[in-house]
Subunit: 404 residues, 2 copies
């Protein structure tokens, strides 16, 4: 038996350079897509100027420019996976965050703010078409997560999910923030949850989105208000996990997993695990405590289980870049809920130092739990082809000596 580990990254990214999406966009939008993309790039550059330190990103990228093309080039991508020892990956949009994102604001987050629904749908489907081609290279190895702007139109989302299933995409990413649209406890989404359950499509919420205008000012990114709004970034990094887990709070209380017991949902890049135990405790506390909330009436009887029980049955965490300190909470969170991810090709990820990360993080960690977190949980959760991946892992997986 091989001593190599079967590793699945539940958080990888892929996307074309934004100007190259045009052939994947419906022709009726071609007349103005170049202009729209130029505007989007200009906005992204402005946002980057305030939100990210361009020099750090540039410096980080300089020696690995060739490897970064794995964001869209399949041969380069295979090399990256081999180097990182990753047998299978879950693939989200936005390759090199600021440079590779679908047009019309259809990338990570799928923000409904200032979006034109028809155009965001067009951009999302363009990415989905390209993504279907990418994963077709080795469908058992790459699980593609389509962008679905669900908030705008449930019927269109259902149609898009059917298209995904027919075209080999097995996951969908939904907006993490709903803005002025209906939150996820609204029963209007039931037909969408139903089709996802029936077709075995996995729901994903990806970290990053937050109400940036509250932190950085109403005119962000057009106006730089860093002088008058000190600490805006501190607020952002302190709240971003709240916004990531919020959709699940609404789905859990809304009884979504009661009505659709086989629906599976992931929160991704949720590696700041130390917030999770108190979140679960709070949900269960509100489910069981009745004294202080007696005057609020019955808001529990539509649920047959406690929120943490639905979470354990239906949900998982894409624990990208998770540090050892947070992994120590595995038993409180549920060891089966934690699924590692590399976050390739983002600078906050473990790549290009993933092998070093394995050793640093898992040295002395219980081996069986480590195997679950690094890969076997994801094989089970997503129903991946374990024997196919085992063969790949035997060639490229990291050695189990990382636990010693």
């Amino acid at each position: 038996m091989s001593d190599r580990l079967l590793v699945v990254s539940t958080d990888c990214h892929a996307g074309l350079p934004i100007h190259q999406y045009k052939p994947y966009v419906e022709t009726k939008y071609h007349d103005f897509i170049d202009m729209a993309v130029d505007i989007q790039v200009d906005m992204m550059n402005k946002a980057e100027k305030q939100f990210l330190i361009k020099e750090i990103n540039d410096e980080w990228r300089a020696p690995i420019e060739q490897e970064l093309t794995g964001a869209w080039d399949y041969q380069e991508r295979k090399k990256m996976l081999a180097k990182d020892g990753i047998a299978a990956e879950i693939v989200f949009p936005d390759g090199i965050t600021e440079h590779n994102t679908p047009p019309f604001g259809a990338g990570l987050g799928l923000s409904p703010r200032d979006a034109v629904p028809e155009l965001q749908w067009a951009g999302a489907m363009a990415h989905n078409r390209w993504l279907a081609e990418l994963v077709a290279n080795d469908p058992k190895r790459h699980l593609g997560v389509a962008s679905i702007p669900l908030l705008f139109d449930v019927d269109q989302a259902i149609e898009a999910v059917r298209w995904c299933a027919e075209n080999g995409l097995k996951g969908v990413m939904l907006p993490t923030l709903w803005g002025d649209h209906a939150p996820y406890h609204d029963k209007k989404y039931d037909p969408f949850w139903e089709v996802c359950q029936d077709l075995g499509i996995f729901i994903h919420f990806h970290s990053g989105p937050a109400p940036l205008n509250e932190y950085f000012g109403p005119d962000f990114p057009n106006e730089d208000r860093s002088e008058s709004l000190p600490g805006a970034m501190g607020c952002y990094v302190s709240e971003v996990m709240f916004w990531l887990y919020r959709p699940l709070t609404f789905m859990l209380w809304g009884g979504v997993f009661e009505r659709f017991p086989k629906l599976k949902a992931m929160v991704v890049e949720g590696g700041t695990l130390f917030m999770v135990p108190s979140w679960l405790t709070l949900l269960d506390h509100n489910y069981t405590d009745v004294h202080f909330s007696a005057k609020l009436g019955d808001f529990r009887s539509h649920l047959s289980m406690a929120p943490s029980e639905y979470f354990a049955r239906n949900c998982g965490i894409g624990a990208s870049c998770v540090p050892r300190r947070d992994l120590e909470m595995k038993d409180v969170i549920g060891v089966n809920q934690i699924m590692w991810g590399s976050d390739y090709p983002h600078p906050e990820g473990t790549w290009p130092h993933t092998q070093q990360y394995y050793t640093d993080t898992f040295k002395g960690f219980p081996q069986e739990d480590g195997k679950l977190i690094l890969g076997l949980n994801a094989v089970d959760f997503y129903g991946l082809d374990g024997s196919y991946l085992r063969t790949l892992a035997d060639e490229i997986g990291p050695s189990s000596s990382i636990f010693q």
Copy 2:
């Protein structure tokens, strides 16, 4: 030496029946105040119908109707304090929540949503005038917290704070939610923090406010959508602590306590303490960790201390109705930050069973810490007259045998 405990409730409420506020409202609003109040009462009744179980409130109130008039009747209030063994109290608006609230939506929460700024100011100042009369009965015993709709006008808020100081009100309650207005890291509020620091006025955020329209639907309370939005109340109770602590997140990162080191701020009815350790850990993690946020630039150098250190120096928690389980976290949170409150006269409070609460909650609890939490912390934080209150406590305070 007396074995009676000096108890301070950091969360009590007082308010006139809403129709009786008229004499305290500027005469220029008298022409339409009755109509405005009728509309407000109608809205409150609608909200109560969806949000609260009227029968439970009514049943709870029936045997204590006389005692509830302590919300505005001073002699009744003194009896209540004696019965509860409370030597001093911090007094917030909204007596019997749904019946005693200032006109023009100027009560607990001070929601900016759908508010007419000029009118909310008028209602707030009406309450503040009445409150100044109430606390004048025994100013060392009652610390009145004025309603200040800061978001609408910083200059007007400064003027109001000066009025408070001149009229014996030592605390201000600010809106917990800011809606589309500037959050509390915005330097535009610096002149307000400065005047509060200089005049020794204490800042308060009171629990309760949350984006109800997200949970209960865009037309809440006019339209009952409980069928299509199951679990809305579960979402509310699971998020309300987030919204309460959110202003401090922004003030801490914004450097407010760096620039105004003597400013004091309380979060009140924050008794679900088990969220606090992870909140503090998260803030400090983001202050000290640099690897994953390197690309986000410097958002720390304007702070000379970690967020938890400002919290320990400048902030306190009005831990109303706090259960024993949460008190066990005292050392992680900081025992000096935790200040008990009775929440009179709200049904979720300890009143009218406060004496029973003392025994149930503090049996076997470390006595010195218990004394701090029940009163001595508040004496110190608010700079109350300890020897005056000691005399009162010697008459009415609960026995220290509650710790046995």
